[in-house]
Symmetry: D3
Subunit: 317 residues, 6 copies
């Protein structure tokens, strides 16, 4: 696992998708899901060396998860199989054209049994960056401990940490999330949040600008506020920048945030300046929403130019 550009840590799940109401009992399609593995795939598709670490069960669903990650060229050598626990599951139900619902079956999952020991090796191998999300600490006590350890250890080793807040209301309360994520953010170099997540890593009552300023004061170098169809605002010591989203036909918004993060980190690894990093971020976000699946539509490097913001209905012959 030496020479990895990005190490991501978290739980990878099997997502069972229905195209309509779940109670009707239609066919389900199996997908790899997980915010951190989405980011790893986004980077691997762009040619970076990305690794994912976490636990999967000793079951066939675990085999599925590993097959998908390997197919995408993500380094899985540090993944641990946990024969005593099942691989986590989620149902993603398209309830209406506009509303999707998630039901998690991840209590007691292999992924939630992550420990500090699982992470020592991969971190010691010296990745260029580490990516964490606010989901992992919500999974279990040991996972929270592991995520916290990883952030601190990376920061101590001078490895920049990217933290995506990614609040999951189905897993914990905002209060519990804030208690854990606020201190965690202090170890991050990059913090990614949507507008309504920002207060989970900021002082109480702060508006967006104040929250971002507070993070910058605590040592965060870049605060990225995801605005959905309105793009992104980035706060750094140099000030604030807004970059608009790339207009595309949206067919599936799941995974857009992870794609955005992957694009930003790719730009960082490539040494791009802030505006170009943000440009890559919104481009990857556009690929994600213009394709079905959480990560299946993400681009290779040679495909980045396919989405130009004016390409509706194009056929390339």
């Amino acid at each position: 696992m030496s020479g990895v550009d990005l190490l991501t840590v978290g739980e990878a799940l099997v997502s069972l998708r229905s195209s309509g109401p779940l109670l009707a009992g239609g066919p389900l399609s199996m997908h790899l899901a997980g915010a951190e593995s989405n980011v790893a795939i986004g980077l691997a598709r762009l040619g970076h060396r990305a690794a994912w670490v976490g636990r999967v069960g000793g079951d066939e669903l675990g085999e599925f998860v590993l097959r998908q990650l390997r197919a995408e060229g993500v380094d899985t050598t540090a993944v641990r199989r946990d024969p005593a626990r099942p691989t986590g599951l989620m149902f993603l139900e398209r309830r209406t054209a506009d509303v999707s619902r998630v039901q998690y079956h991840r209590a007691g999952s292999a992924g939630s049994a992550l420990t500090v020991d699982d992470l020592r090796g991969p971190l010691a191998a010296g990745p260029r960056m580490v990516h964490l999300t606010g989901i992992t600490p919500a999974l279990s006590d040991s996972a929270r401990e592991a995520a916290g350890w990883a952030a601190r250890a990376a920061a101590d080793a001078g490895i920049p940490v990217c933290l995506d807040v990614n609040h999951r209301a189905g897993l914990w309360s905002r209060e519990a999330a804030r208690a854990t994520l606020f201190p965690l953010a202090g170890y991050a170099s990059v913090v990614v949040a949507s507008t309504d997540e920002l207060d989970l890593v900021a002082q109480a009552g702060a508006d967006e600008a104040a929250a971002a300023a507070g993070l910058l004061r605590r040592g965060v170098r870049t605060v990225l506020v995801k605005l959905g169809a309105d793009g992104v605002r980035a706060y750094t010591a140099e000030g604030v920048r807004h970059v608009a989203a790339v207009p595309v036909t949206a067919v599936d918004t799941v995974g857009a945030g992870d794609a955005f993060t992957a694009g930003y980190l790719s730009g960082h690894l490539d040494g791009l300046d802030l505006v170009d990093r943000l440009g890559r971020a919104v481009t990857l976000g556009a690929f994600a929403v213009a394709g079905h699946g959480d990560w299946e539509g993400l681009p290779r490097r040679d495909e980045l130019s396919l989405i130009t913001g004016s390409a509706a209905g194009t056929t390339l012959r």
Copy 2:
């Protein structure tokens, strides 16, 4: 069948749907269809006790119809199996993205053989409301007689009747429809019509307001004019109210009118005031158009809040 909130009377069909031109011969999906059974399902999903009465064949398609109704919790104890006639069929062809075509195979069907006798028992059981549509009288002489009898008998018993005009040009002419439906409307407490159906239950030449006024004069308490994407206008003794449609991504408009009616009647059964009844009506209409199928997307009571008019692309985790 005692204690039923709503009794609906009509023909339930098997709808065979193609996702493209029928002549191409692609796969067909089977669905339960029928304006009245749609309304019954809409109410049952919201927790009301709804019954449907009509005839289905002794064939496997009849079994399918009954299985679907039972699955939805609709009371089918009064349904009659007619071993001598087939269950009615329709083909619903999506000819273009915007144009669907129906072909009925219901001539001589079990459903069209409905008689007054089929309805005596269910009506005697004393439902709180009765729902009829202008489709049933178009099916056969005996069905017309049965629908007329049901309207009169309910009115005589003080049970409010809801009549949805639902003109089917493939079944009869506007002239024939008017000759039957105009008098029928006189027994109704609620009349539901789209703009171009109103003259089938009103004096010749009347505009919308005059037509509604005429119906109110004849004893109708509420006239609901469905305006599609523009919502609904309701005429009562208190005047006229307009309620806008709830904006959603429309994927299938079939069944929207029945959903609307179900929502209104649910509000009525819950004792809501007019504006809240209309609000529930447009909410159910929104669920119907934002989901595939005639009724498959209708909400349970705990789901009513899922559609808020601003929820495009939401994933609830």
Copy 3:
């Protein structure tokens, strides 16, 4: 329509197939069905000029039927569209692995409205042979009259007639069938029947040999008794011949009899002797049962050698 080798007369239907119990409501696939059109396709695939005549509705299902027949190179120029009647339908339900059930929706269909006038033109064009089945006379009075007329007119014109008894218990009783088919067989040159159908065209109480002898005495040249997996016995003035079936993995026996007849008639048109005609008949039967669908698996002339009776699990690279 000049120069046709074989004219087939009957009703072509749309067959809606389920792969499991129909009441469960799974997807249906659309297929062209009809004993006579099956025979026409069997001959057209082998390079003969085959025509089918009958009525289809003015509906999209009629378009489907015509598209399929044209795709297979069957001459449809004499087909009549009947705008007042729907195209006939059938449901073919695979109830268990071994038991399929048919439900017809052909009462009042366009196909059942066949008349003598529909057949005058095609018969006047002078086909080399005419094929009829015992299904057509069961459809309606006019269809029975038309089938009888066609048999007599062809016989009068010296055109050999092939009659496949094809008793359909769902359409008429054995008594009614016998009353019509017994005299009809007297005009035939070739009579095809399964063992339990033979008494419908023979004197009461006759065993197989006696029944065949009776038919030969009445002018039939060849009596083919289909034995299913046991092959065929052919009775002619020269005596009786048995040819075994070609062993294959059977996946769908529907259409096997029609394929058999098509193979026999193809051999006849090619001038083969009896044994070779029978050989082609059982070969086509084998193709039919080794493939899904009523006729979809039938061979082109260059494919006849693919089934050799010992080819289980062969991959030709």
Copy 4:
């Protein structure tokens, strides 16, 4: 819930079936599963009044389970929704043409939280018979207690109990199973077991005949030993009877044992003698293996004659 013929108690699950290796990630189909609900459906299809009691989650999977049971006419009025626990899941993977594998996700499920209190009402309503399996006691302490209570309470009330041993090696060891099931069998009127399950309810070291004799001595009236393709042996006070299986093309053996039990109990409820009860049992077993799904192929009463043991490749027109 008054007037029920058979009360079944257990856990109903959502079964996610793959048609090939699960790790390949192909589509999954959703099915209702559960030995006890299978039996309830088998009886309901035959026209008996059958109820199922157990817990399902407050989730959409629970809605699916209830929709399926209601569609089949099973009484679900005593089912309890458990909002705090998910509905149980299982994956059923067709690993090879001959080998299927099950993975359970039922630890902590709603179904496993069954309690004695859940059963008091349904049992007090006085069903004619009660059906239990050896799966329920394996689910949790409270479920084991509930199953034991139900057996004793029914026996005390003079309601015959049917116990299907149904050992699930994935849930508990043979030792644990024996410790619970041996005493439980003492309350049963009918015990159903496969050959290798008999020792779980018999004295150690007994062969089949001795094990059956032991059960009969302990008060069991009928011991049914399922022999798969070899049929069944029934032990009663009158001696031993063997009935052969009905030969059909087997496409899916899952659920065959439950179908067998349902057939036997139906015969019991109909007052048939032993041989006819066994005949119905093997007929239902044949329907189950000749169709896909655990229960989807089970017959209505009018369909019992479809399987005759000589019907391979029959099409009923």
Copy 5:
């Protein structure tokens, strides 16, 4: 092949469509593709006698192509089977909601082996019009020669030629295309081009109006500039006309240009004036984009009125 209204010349391919990224390996659907065969189908559906000529392989893909053309009523009697070469293939990948990609496998295909001799017969039969595209000359030397010969021979015989520029960047450069297509356009009566194709058939540096004027000077009677969602501009000796597109929900823009051309030519064959020809052209274009597939959604004559520009969400019952 006598009495043909329109003869089209080109390569018909098998198009393998994926609904998502091709690298994911999902199912592919098979379609007939080819600009010229699309035009032939468009005319045949409207009741014109249309023929297509070209080569297909002796393989099963060639059978597929012929089946589709025959199904649509296109005259295929002049098609040549080329046993030594495969039928051409293309992959049509929906990469994102807005971007499709084509990969051709037509190098060395049967279709690319077209020769002048293949065309002599069909042209001698005297069609009323001939349709060519700029794709055929890009396929091979012999195909280029054949296309040129056809244009000249038709022009010499007084048969109007329609040339659709249809530049395929995957087959040749703009320079190579211009060298061939510029002279070819001189033989055409109708030239169809999109805005960015016009310079391939015009003098260098000319704007749209100047390019059209140049073509008119060289003898072209009508120059049609396709503007996509903006409709069409037609240049003739009488001046320039713009006709707007018919607004529909666009689901698949592939084939829209061919549909447009077919509509225009149909109007020409019907003797309509320019505005009505353009009206039919944009109507067929609307059908094409409002349906899936290259040609599958094209209308019969009785369906032309289905698209009216205001019919969103209509269900015809």
Copy 6:
């Protein structure tokens, strides 16, 4: 690529499978195909380190091939992308239940452009074994040269070579095959052939035993004669051994030979004796025929015991 247990060399293709006649145009599924990659996957699933080397196009089909190989854990680091040539294709058509047909589209493919230079690196890395088939030399002159070089170079380096004759009649004649393969076999340590392939690597006119003896005399250590359902005969210096096939329900025989070879080589790498190597070979063959796809059903090491030869209809719970 260091430390590889088995290096396989050849062409990996995209196989497009139809479940029925190809001319009907049903959906196609995409699969990775290729005898050598099948063997590599078979070994990787069993935990060996397997590498595949060859060329794939720069196209999306090439991406698909690489994704599949990576998913299976096959080392692809030496694979070369050839931007100028397409990835090879084949159609695998299930023509009847018993007969499948292959059509190759691999002329001019990237895979056929294999050169000696492509193999120098991987061979220099020192794999423990090398696997070649008789397909590669049939693809092109350069591929023939490469295969020959690899066999000689491996033999020179003391690396055992396994040659599977795998005659493809669609690619070359038996004479051409023999001219190349006879000398090639001289470098092999293991030769695998079906009965009718043996004469391509043996002296003219020799029977099986003589052919095997001849190969042994030329230095081959083990000659494996595949007998399909009859198992295998192995010839070594110690004599001849026959091992029966493992009886399973056969659903897809494609890939069985490659599975067999993979099993044998796995046993070899594990140091098993001949009989156990053959046992693993027939076990893997059984997995292949009992599952759909060329390699998709192959077992992991922990699954080897699932197929025991008596497991028909087993469900493991």
